[in-house]
Structure formats: structure tokens, C-alpha cells
């Protein structure tokens, strides 16, 4: 069944060694091929070039990513009428391509930040880039996956390099802990995911999303809901919620984000989330749409728990990385509003938010990576104190990211939330919108507090009392703030500035992305 007869009858280019694979299929997965192949090339290059401080690897990685980006753009422009390749296993539809753009751009930003960061942290290893590219490959696989097997493969291909990257600072205890927690919990979650997939497969007889959708449409109409199938959907949702770090399946997130090197966290927090949400959206909003009435409330509840838990616990943090981790949980909750709505406008809103999130979260983490130094990431609040005086531009950009995460106008975060709430209200999901509003209000406190710390210019002891909220003495850690300004490299600076510019431009002209989203098609089964 996997390879129907007509496929073999298609003519293959004679020069292709894999002559049984039609060229159209390969063109369809060209970005994956480029990144995957690129990973191998970089692996080889790593053997050839001298180890430390060489820019060959990052440049090569960047070239690979740019190439993939260009290819994806070309595919977008061509806008194939039937984007399904490999006999329904993969789709290069615009939905996938949009997610690909976000992922590739984020990866590019991470690569640009890498040389400086790795040098400061003293972990200039060539494997880093290889693992990065491998993970990106997994993400690209995931965005267009049209088969449960491919989904699983994508998730694992994405995750396994990240397990390694999380513990990349081998000599430090925290990364080890982070990697171990990530790996074990990730494996644990994979178990649930696979088991869920197995149940769905068993009850529908298919792993292809198209076929599953057909079956579900029939059973939904006849109101014959199969408990095993529903259990499978539940386990699938649990596994994916883990990947997007939605509460209450988020437990790995704060520890892994905090323990991993800041740059890995950057990549993890943005690209992983985008890829996981892409498949989440495709599976639920599209493939499982006939069962929307069944899964909508649980998903909404997960969204609300994420928003509440993430925002509330973020209040009690004193480390920006950990703060951003909880913030990331909350943001996952917001994106899940669009998922719970499920209508096209919900999907669009989620995608818009993810795109914006890529800009603002990458930017925020980028600032942290720039501030890092040997042996540690300088992300304690006390280390940010007075940044507004030392490095006004950097602090200003950080402020933009914070404001955007808080959802202020002028920044992309505002329209992100606007579209999400709009979709929720249009769908009559008022509780979702109201919880979104309430938790947004809570979130202001910690985002604005970061700005306050950077800019108020008040002595730390005075601000202790001012900004303390949960009995945590901010200055208590007594980590001395760096006295002098740190040097910002050109690529790193460029990344932060571009992220800031993107946050602002998209915040003022939402049409730039929204018109892209209007042309989106989702192959959903």
C-alpha cells in the first residue's frame, strides 16, 4: 500500500541514482535535502578545518540555511497546485513553507550569534553546527509531515540533536542536568506520542493524515465516537503539548531553558515551538477537525492552564532565562488559543503569533547571549541592572522585546494577541479571550520589571523592595553587575537590531505577514 503502482510508472531522470523516486518528490522536499545534506557537508568540513575560532563552519552553515530559505521561497512563489509528494507522506504546502521560513530564519539568527557566543563561553566545537542543522532538518520534516510516521520521525530528528545541544557545555553541571532531564522526559513523552499514534492508526487503519481525515469525517457524521480513537487523540495531544511546552506538560521547560547554553535555548524556544505547533495545528485544526467538538475544550483548558501557570510563575523568577522559559509556556498558551479555535482564522492567528514570537523571543535571548561570558550566561536580574546606562541601545532593544512579549502596540506582540483574541471571540470562545486578557495583565508585571531594572537607574538595594513581588529578593543573589559595556559583535548586533526592527515593523504593518498568511493552504487530510 505504501508504494502504489502508478508511482513506479512515473519516469525518473536517468541521472538520478534513486531512479525510482520521481523528481517532483525530491523537488518537494528540496529544503530538507539541502539542510540534511548540508549537515553532512559541514560534518565533513569539520574534519578538515582547524578546530578553534574558525569561521568556515558557521559560514557554511549559514550558506546551507540561506540556500534552504531560497528554495523554500521559490516553492512559495511557484505555489504548486498539488503540493503533496511521496504519495501523501509529505506536503510542501504554504502552511509548511511559512513555518519553514520562520524556522530557517531563526536558525540563521542563531548561527549568526554562534561564533561570538561559543567563543565567550569557550565551547567552540564543530559538532554544534552539525547538530543544529540536523535539528533543523527534523523541523522541516515535521512542518510538512502528512503521515503519522513522518511526524514521529520529524519529532525525533528534531529532538535528539537538541538533547545533545542542551548538554553542550559539557564541563558545567547545569547543562548536564538540563540535558538529562530533557532526554528522559522527552523519551517519556515520545512513548505517549507513539502510543497515541498507534491507537489512531489502529482505529482508523491508516497512518496517512488524508486517509485518517476521511475516516473521521464519516464517524463524526454518524456520531460513532470510538473511545480508543479518542484516547489516541488524547495521547497525541499530550505528546505534542510536551513539545510546545504547554502546561501541565511543560515541566522540562524551565530547567532545560535555564540549564542549556543561552543560544541553544534561543533555538529551542523558538524553532522547536514553531515546528511543533505547525504539526499540532495541522493535526488538530485540520486532520482531526471533524472531532473538534471533542478536543476543543481539553485544548482550551490546556491553553488556559499554560497562560495562567506560565505568567504567574514567571512573576517569581529572578533569572531572565528562566523568566523567558515561563514566558514561553505562557506564550504557548496564547498560541493554543488559535489552536483551540480551530477555524482558519484561529490557525492564521497562531501562525502570525508564532512568526512574531520568533522575532521577539529570538531578540530577547540574543541579548542574553550577547551579555554572556565565560562559564555563565549573565541573566540574573541584578546583572541587568543599569544596562540602560551602560548599553542604551541593547537595553532599548531588550525593552522592545519585553514590550512585544507583553503585547504592547507598536510591536508585533500586539497584533499577535489581537488576531488570537479576535479569532477566539469570533468563535464564541469568550473564556479563552478573557483568560488571555487577565494573564496578559499579570504578565505586564514581570516584563515591565525587566525594563524597570534596566532603566530605572536606581541603586539595586532601593529597587529590591520596589520590584520584589513574591518574596524573592531580587538583589539577594548578589551577583555583581558587569561594570563595563560588553562588546557586541557585528553579526550578533545585526541579529538583535534586525529582530528589533522586525518586531517594530511587523507591529506597525501587520499586513506584511498577514497578507502572506492569506494565501496559505493547509493540506490536512
Amino acid at each position: 500500500m505504501m508504494f502504489p503502482a502508478e508511482i513506479t510508472q512515473l519516469a525518473a531522470a536517468p541521472w538520478l541514482p534513486l531512479h525510482f523516486v520521481p523528481a517532483a518528490n525530491l523537488v518537494g522536499i528540496l529544503p530538507i535535502l539541502i539542510v540534511g545534506g548540508g549537515a553532512v557537508m559541514v560534518l565533513l568540513a569539520d574534519l578538515l578545518v582547524p578546530r578553534r575560532g574558525n569561521l568556515v563552519l558557521p559560514v557554511a552553515t549559514a550558506i546551507v540555511l540561506v540556500g534552504a530559505l531560497g528554495t523554500a521561497a521559490g516553492q512559495w512563489a511557484v505555489h504548486a497546485s498539488n503540493p503533496v509528494v511521496f504519495n501523501g507522506a509529505y506536503a510542501e504546502d504554504r502552511f509548511a513553507l511559512f513555518a519553514d521560513f520562520v524556522i530557517l530564519i531563526t536558525a540563521l539568527a542563531v548561527v549568526a550569534l554562534s561564533p561570538g557566543y561559543l567563543r565567550r563561553r569557550g565551547m567552540e566545537e564543530g559538532e554544534y553546527y552539525i547538530l543544529l542543522l540536523a535539528s533543523v532538518t527534523g523541523m522541516l520534516v515535521l512542518t510538512g509531515a502528512l503521515n503519522l510516521i513522518v511526524v514521529f520521525l520529524g519529532i525525533e530528528l528534531l529532538s535528539i540533536p537538541l538533547y545533545v545541544l542542551a548538554g553542550f557545555a559539557r564541563d558545567e553541571p547545569l547543562p548536564q542536568e538540563a540535558a538529562m532531564k530533557y532526554l528522559l522526559l522527552g523519551g517519556f513523552a515520545s512513548g505517549f506520542l507513539v502510543y497515541g499514534m498507534a491507537l489512531i492508526y489502529g482505529e482508523t487503519g491508516h497512518t496517512g493524515l488524508v486517509a485518517i481525515h476521511h475516516v473521521l469525517t464519516t464517524t463524526a457524521v454518524s456520531q460513532q465516537f470510538d473511545p480508543m480513537l479518542l484516547a489516541g487523540i488524547a495521547l497525541l495531544a499530550v505528546g505534542l503539548s510536551f513539545k510546545v511546552s504547554a502546561a501541565p506538560f511543560h515541566w522540562w521547560t524551565p530547567d532545560v531553558y535555564q540549564g542549556s547554553p543561552a543560544l541553544v535555548t534561543t533555538f529551542m524556544s523558538v524553532a522547536t515551538k514553531v515546528a511543533a505547533f505547525a504539526v499540532f495545528l495541522r493535526l488538530f485544526s485540520a486532520t482531526l477537525a471533524p472531532y473538534r467538538a471533542e478536543w476543543q475544550v481539553p485544548i482550551a483548558v490546556v491553553a488556559i492552564i499554560s497562560m495562567v501557570f506560565g505568567n504567574v510563575v514567571a512573576l517569581a523568577q529572578t533569572s531572565v532565562k528562566r523568566l523567558l522559559a515561563y514566558s514561553g509556556i505562557a506564550q504557548a498558551g496564547y498560541v493554543m488559543i488559535g489552536l483551540a479555535v480551530g477555524r482558519p482564522d484561529g490557525t492564521e492567528a497562531s501562525l502570525y503569533y508564532l512568526a512574531g514570537y520568533a522575532f521577539m523571543n529570538t531578540g530577547a535571548f540574543a541579548v542574553i547571549t550577547i551579555l554572556s561570558r565565560r562559564g555563565e550566561d549573565c541573566d540574573r536580574y541584578s546583572q541587568l541592572s543599569g544596562l540602560g546606562r551602560r548599553q542604551p541601545v541593547l537595553a532599548g532593544l531588550m525593552a522592545i522585546f519585553m514590550l512585544s512579549l507583553a503585547g504592547f502596540p507598536l510591536t508585533v506582540g500586539f497584533f499577535g494577541k489581537f488576531f488570537l483574541f479576535s479569532a477566539a471571540i469570533h468563535d464564541g470562545q469568550l473564556p479563552l479571550a478573557i483568560w488571555g486578557i487577565l494573564t496578559s495583565a499579570v504578565s505586564l508585571f514581570y516584563y515591565l520589571r525587566v525594563i524597570l531594572i534596566m532603566f530605572s537607574g536606581m541603586p539595586q538595594t532601593a529597587s529590591d523592595e520596589e520590584i520584589q513581588v513574591a518574596g524573592v529578593s531580587v538583589g539577594g543573589a548578589a551577583v555583581a553587575a558587569p561594570e563595563s559595556a560588553v562588546a557586541v559583535g557585528v553579526p550578533a548586533g545585526l541579529v538583535v537590531v534586525l529582530a528589533g526592527a522586525g518586531t517594530l515593523v511587523l507591529g506597525i504593518f501587520p499586513a506584511l505577514i498577514y497578507t502572506l498568511l492569506q494565501g496559505i493552504t493547509v493540506v490536512h487530510g
Binding site: 528522559l184 522526559l185 479518542l230 484516547a231 499530550v238 506538560f249 515541566w251 514567571a314 517569581a316 513581588v469
Partner: protein
């Protein structure tokens, strides 16, 4: 009357003091003193001249043509024209228009005439003050404000003048701002005035919103002439402001009187006036005797068309007036501060005027107003001479024997006392007896209010001659009194002029046939105020007059007996009726009453807001939400134990929950 000519005159009357004020204020005291000394009184006297010209011009017209309304500028027109989808709509249309008629001209004459004299006097009195310029700025402002008040033909500008007067009064009371007591007195006066303003404003609202024209259409006007035309007697009763004695007119009458009571220091808004004596003495003469405090009388007289429709309100006015007269007279008998005695006297006399206008004897009330302005200004200025002479001492116990050293002042003060007491044939005799006799024919509770009024005569002559005796007779009781000198001419001449006026002004009301233009006060005002509906018969009137004179003389006699010959012990009342004496001496405890029932509760409320409501309720509510969330954050973050197996357990648990919920379709 010729509109253009009148406009010019009115502009001069108003403009001169205004200019004086502006020049003085905008130079911030940099103007040479000599200039101010001429300019200050000069502008007021110039204004007086213009007022006299206006009087003459007016008298040259037949009585039916003695009123004219002139529009200065369109202050506020809140009507809406149609267009842009909005229907045309009449709204508040308040011009600054002035009314020139006998009543307003009379008031202008009093204000600028007596005011001018007092300004002249002030040049001497304030000679050594370091804020000479500021004083004249305020004084000119006051004259301007008072003129606005009496000339305005618009309710809104009446209110504006009303409030400006209050401010000027405040500024002058607190003129010596380094004195705590002056500052407090000024504030008290101002706040009381604002209460009155509010009454006036509410009355204006009621009139504006409810007045109907002949056709029954709502007029929405604040033009006073239009208002009077439509509520006046003989007009369509069932339009206007509703039926005679109806709730609407009664409410308006009472609210108007709230304003009048505040301004004229009538119960229950009277307590500010004695304290206002903290101001310089010329201020007391001008504002708290001659002009401002009589504005209430003017107001009731001016709004007599409304009071004529509101017998209940009018009766209330009369009763409060007579009650205040009695109370103030009673209090005045035991005060030692010379200015306070005169202040209570003022309150008492104005009570009588209010009584008069309350019972409907409008021109009698106005006549008393004019006469009172003369003799009360005289008394104050004379008292000012005394105070000035003995180093700002105001306690009559520290005076004595001044009749020897300050002969002119003594003479003038005595003339004032005689006039005040209503001794024939001084000014007060004519005015007060006419006023009181109206109580026998008009108003409520005939003749009991008259009886009370006549009793006040005893008190009046007692307290004022008590001052005469104690302050001027006998031996000097202080070093300063022993070395007192007569006042300089600039202070003496106005006093003498006023004494002359106090002696003769009473004859104004005698209708000398053919002695134009002075045709008798009542007939002078008749075009505006009409005549009282009833007069007592000649016999009753004569008897009443006799009773009044006898009682006045009786008061003088008691003083003579107590202070002159010591036939009666001074300690008689304090010893025999200590409660009565204490009641009088402590000003009937009104200040204390208000302090405990109004001022302190409000202050306590305010403190409560600051110390309890703000921190413990409003802020605490906000902080409570914040703390609740913070507590939640503290609780929630403990879930994040750091132990992998806890994570896995919770994950597993919630996965099971999801499995059960979805699998069993619990949603």
C-alpha cells in the same frame, strides 16, 4: 434713555475701577506709592461722577423710561444652530449686559460714593503699610465686582459678580496675611460665600430650566428683565414659574436667599462677619458695612417679582431677617472689640433690611440700606481713627477719655451712633421707623415680627452708646489712649462728610413736591420696586413710630444709667443671669456649634479618607490583588521541584486525566 450715552457711562463706571485694579495688579507693587494714592481713590470717585451723570440723565426721563439694558459683550451663547444633522436648540445664552435703572443707579452711587470716601480715607489709614499697592488693587477690584453685581442684567453675571465680591472680600480680610487669624477668617468668609454662591447657582438653574413664557414655552433665559417680565404680578400665573406659592417659586426664593444670607451674614450663614473684622478697618467700612453685606438686600429687592409669587419664601426671609437682627443685637451688647460691636450691629441692621424686603417693603429696605451705608461707614471709619490713634488696639476696655483728644472723631462717631439708634431726625430715624412700621401691615405674623423689630431698637442704642461711653468717656485706661491724637485730615475729611450724610440723608425720603430731581426715595424706586401693597394707617404708624423712638431712647437711657451714672451695676446681668450673659458674650455659640457639627466632621472625614480609606481600602485592594497573585506565584513555583520523577509523575497524571476526559467524552 440714550443707549449709546448710557453705554459709555456704564463703561466708565465699570471701567475705571477695573483699570485701577489691573494697573495696580500687573505692576506687582512696583508703581510709586504717590501714583497709587491718587489713582486708587481717583478711579472710584471718577466712577462716582459718571454714576451721578447717569442719575441726572435718568431723572430727566419720565418714570416709565428709566430702565435700559445694555449689552457689553456676548459672553457665552450655548445655543445650537441647525446643520450637520443637528437640530437647532436654544441653550444658555449669557451676555454681559447691564441694567441701568433707579435701583442699580442707587447702588452704583452708594458703592462708588461711599466707596470713594473710604478709598480716600484708606490713603491715610494704610499709609505705612508695606502692601499699599496691593491694598488698592484689591479695593478697586472689590468696587468693580460690586458694580458687576448690581449692574448685571444676567443671572450668570450676577453670580459672577457675587463670587468676585466674595473673592475680593476674602483677599481684603486676609490682607494682613502674616496674621494667622486673618488668614483663617478670610478662608471662613470665602467658604461661606461659596455656599451662598451654590444656592444662587441652583436658583439660577431652576429659573433657567423652568421659566415659561406667555405661550407656555420654556424660555431658557438668564436675562433678568425677561425673567421678571414673566413672573411679575399680573402676568400669566400658570406659566412663569408655576402657581403663586407653588413649590418651584418657593424653592427658587429659598435658594436665592441662601445666597443672600451668605452675603448679608444672616443666620445661618452669619458667623464669618465678626471674624472678617481681621481686615483693615476701611475694608470693614466698605465691604462689611456699606456695600457687600447689603448685596443680599439688593438681591431680594431685585428679585421681588419672584418673592411676590412666593409668600412662604418671603415670610421665611422676613423671619430670618428679624431673628438675625435680634440675635446680632443681643450679641453686640457684650462684645469688647469695637469693630466687632459694629459688625454685630451691621448684622443686626441688615437683618432689619432683610426683614423689610421679606415682608415686601422693598423701597423701605433699600432706604435703610442707603442710610445704613452712610452711618455704618461713618462708625467704622471713626472707629478706625480711634484704632489708628491707639496703635491698633481694638478693645474698648483699653480706651476711654478719647472724647477729649479726638474731638472731631468723637463728634462724628456720636452722629453715627445717633443715626444708628434711630434718634430723630438723624438718618436712621427715617429709614428704620419706616421699615419697622411696614411690619405692622405686611408680611407674616403681624404684628409680632414688628414687635421683635422694635425690641431690637433697645439693643441697638444700648450697644452703640455703650461703645460711645466706654471708649470715649471717662478716663484713659491705657497708655496709648492717653496719648492719642486726632487723625490726619485725609482720614478725617471722609468721616466728616459721612457724618454730614448720616445726619441728612434721612430727609431724602420726604417727598418735597416739585423739588426735582429728588422726588423722594420711594417714588424714585417706584419704577423698579413698586410700592408696598398695604400701609399701616396713619394712627397706627404714628404710634409705632413713637414706640420705636421711645425704645431707642430707652436704650440710650440704660447706657446712661449703667455707664454714665452707674445707677445700675454693670455686673447686674453677668451676675444675675450668667447664662444670658455668657450666651451673648460667646456669640450664641454658633461658631462652636458649626465647628463641632460641620467643620470637624468634614475634617475628620477627610482625615479618614487619607488615613483609612486610601491606604486600607483603595490601595489595599490593589495591593491585595497583587499580593494574591504573588502568593499564587510562590505556591505555583514550588510545583517545579527540580526532581525529574516529580515532573514525570505530574506529566503522567495529567496525561491520564486527558485520556479519561477525552476517552470517556466528558466534555
Amino acid at each position: 434713555m440714550n443707549p449709546t450715552f448710557t453705554l459709555v457711562l456704564a463703561a466708565i463706571v465699570l471701567g475705571l475701577p477695573t483699570a485701577g485694579f489691573l494697573v495696580n495688579a500687573l505692576t506687582f507693587g512696583k508703581l510709586p506709592k504717590a501714583v497709587v494714592a491718587w489713582m486708587g481713590p481717583g478711579v472710584v470717585l471718577g466712577s462716582f461722577v459718571a454714576a451721578v451723570v447717569a442719575l441726572v440723565a435718568m431723572m430727566s426721563r419720565p418714570p416709565s423710561d428709566r430702565g435700559i439694558t445694555i449689552v457689553f459683550w456676548h459672553w457665552l451663547n450655548a445655543s445650537v444652530g441647525s446643520g450637520g444633522g443637528v437640530a437647532a436648540q436654544a441653550g444658555l445664552n449669557a451676555n454681559f449686559s447691564v441694567r441701568i435703572d433707579p435701583l442699580s443707579v442707587l447702588m452704583m452711587l452708594v458703592i462708588t460714593g461711599i466707596g470713594g470716601l473710604i478709598h480716600v480715607y484708606s490713603v491715610g489709614y494704610m499709609d505705612h503699610d508695606r502692601s499699599f499697592n496691593r491694598f488698592f488693587a484689591y479695593m478697586n477690584l472689590f468696587v468693580t465686582s460690586m458694580l458687576v453685581l448690581v449692574m448685571s442684567n444676567t443671572l450668570v453675571f450676577l453670580i459672577i459678580g457675587w463670587a468676585m465680591v466674595a473673592f475680593a472680600s476674602y483677599a481684603l480680610i486676609a490682607f494682613w496675611y502674616e496674621r494667622k487669624s486673618a488668614v483663617v477668617a478670610g478662608r471662613k468668609a470665602f467658604v461661606t460665600q461659596v455656599i451662598g454662591d451654590v444656592g444662587l447657582v441652583l436658583a439660577a438653574f431652576l429659573i433657567f430650566l423652568n421659566l415659561r413664557g406667555p405661550s407656555g414655552r420654556l424660555l431658557h433665559t438668564v436675562n433678568m428683565q425677561t425673567i421678571f417680565d414673566n413672573v411679575g404680578p399680573g402676568a400669566h400665573f400658570h406659566q412663569g414659574l408655576g402657581p403663586v406659592g407653588g413649590g418651584m417659586v418657593t424653592a427658587i426664593g429659598i435658594l436665592l436667599f441662601l445666597g443672600a444670607a451668605a452675603k448679608s451674614a444672616q443666620w445661618p450663614l452669619h458667623t464669618w462677619l465678626p471674624d472678617a473684622m481681621e481686615g483693615p478697618t476701611p475694608v470693614s467700612a466698605l465691604i462689611h458695612a456699606a456695600t457687600m453685606v447689603t448685596a443680599g438686600v439688593y438681591l431680594v429687592a431685585r428679585f421681588h417679582p419672584i418673592y411676590q409669587q412666593a409668600p412662604i419664601a418671603a415670610s421665611l426671609v422676613a423671619a430670618i431677617g428679624i431673628g438675625t437682627a435680634l440675635m446680632a443685637g443681643f450679641i453686640g451688647c457684650t462684645q469688647y472689640d469695637i469693630k466687632r460691636v459694629i459688625a454685630y450691629s451691621t448684622m443686626s441692621q441688615i437683618g432689619l433690611m432683610i426683614f423689610a424686603v421679606g415682608v415686601g417693603a422693598y423701597s423701605a429696605g433699600m432706604f435703610q440700606l442707603v442710610a445704613h451705608a452712610c452711618f455704618k461707614a461713618l462708625l467704622f471709619l471713626a472707629a478706625g481713627n480711634v484704632i489708628h490713634a491707639i496703635n491698633d488696639e481694638q478693645d474698648i476696655r483699653a480706651m476711654g477719655g478719647l472724647s477729649q483728644r479726638m474731638k472731631w472723631t468723637f463728634a462724628c462717631f456720636t452722629v453715627g451712633a445717633l443715626a444708628l439708634s434711630g434718634i430723630p431726625f438723624f438718618a436712621g430715624f427715617f429709614s428704620k421707623e419706616e421699615l419697622l412700621s411696614n411690619g405692622l401691615a405686611l408680611g407674616p405674623a403681624v404684628p409680632w415680627l414688628w414687635l421683635v423689630g422694635v425690641t431690637v431698637n433697645v439693643l441697638t442704642s444700648f450697644y452703640i452708646f455703650r461703645v460711645v461711653w466706654v471708649a470715649f468717656k471717662g478716663e484713659p485706661r491705657s497708655e496709648a489712649a492717653a496719648h492719642a491724637h486726632e487723625a490726619p485730615p485725609v482720614m478725617l475729611i471722609p468721616v466728616v462728610v459721612l457724618a454730614g450724610l448720616a445726619a441728612v440723608v434721612g430727609f431724602l425720603n420726604i417727598d418735597f413736591a416739585g423739588f426735582a430731581p429728588v422726588t423722594g426715595f420711594t417714588s424714585f424706586l417706584r419704577p423698579v420696586l413698586g410700592v408696598p401693597s398695604h400701609q399701616p394707617s396713619d394712627l397706627v404708624g404714628g404710634l409705632a413710630l413713637l414706640a420705636g423712638v421711645v425704645l431707642s431712647l430707652g436704650g440710650v437711657g440704660i447706657v446712661w444709667a449703667v455707664y454714665g451714672k452707674a445707677v445700675i451695676s454693670r455686673e447686674l446681668v453677668p451676675r444675675r443671669l450668667p447664662w444670658l450673659y455668657q450666651l451673648s458674650y460667646n456669640r450664641c455659640y454658633w461658631d462652636e456649634l458649626y465647628d463641632y457639627t460641620l467643620v470637624r466632621p468634614v475634617a475628620a472625614l477627610a482625615r479618614g479618607v487619607r488615613t483609612i480609606l486610601e491606604p486600607d481600602v483603595v490601595d489595599a485592594a490593589v495591593a491585595g490583588v497583587r499580593d494574591a497573585i504573588a502568593t499564587l506565584a510562590d505556591d505555583f513555583r514550588t510545583f517545579q521541584t527540580g526532581f525529574l520523577k516529580d515532573y514525570a509523575l505530574v506529566f503522567f497524571f495529567f496525561a491520564l486525566v486527558g485520556l479519561v476526559v477525552l476517552g470517556l467524552r466528558l466534555t
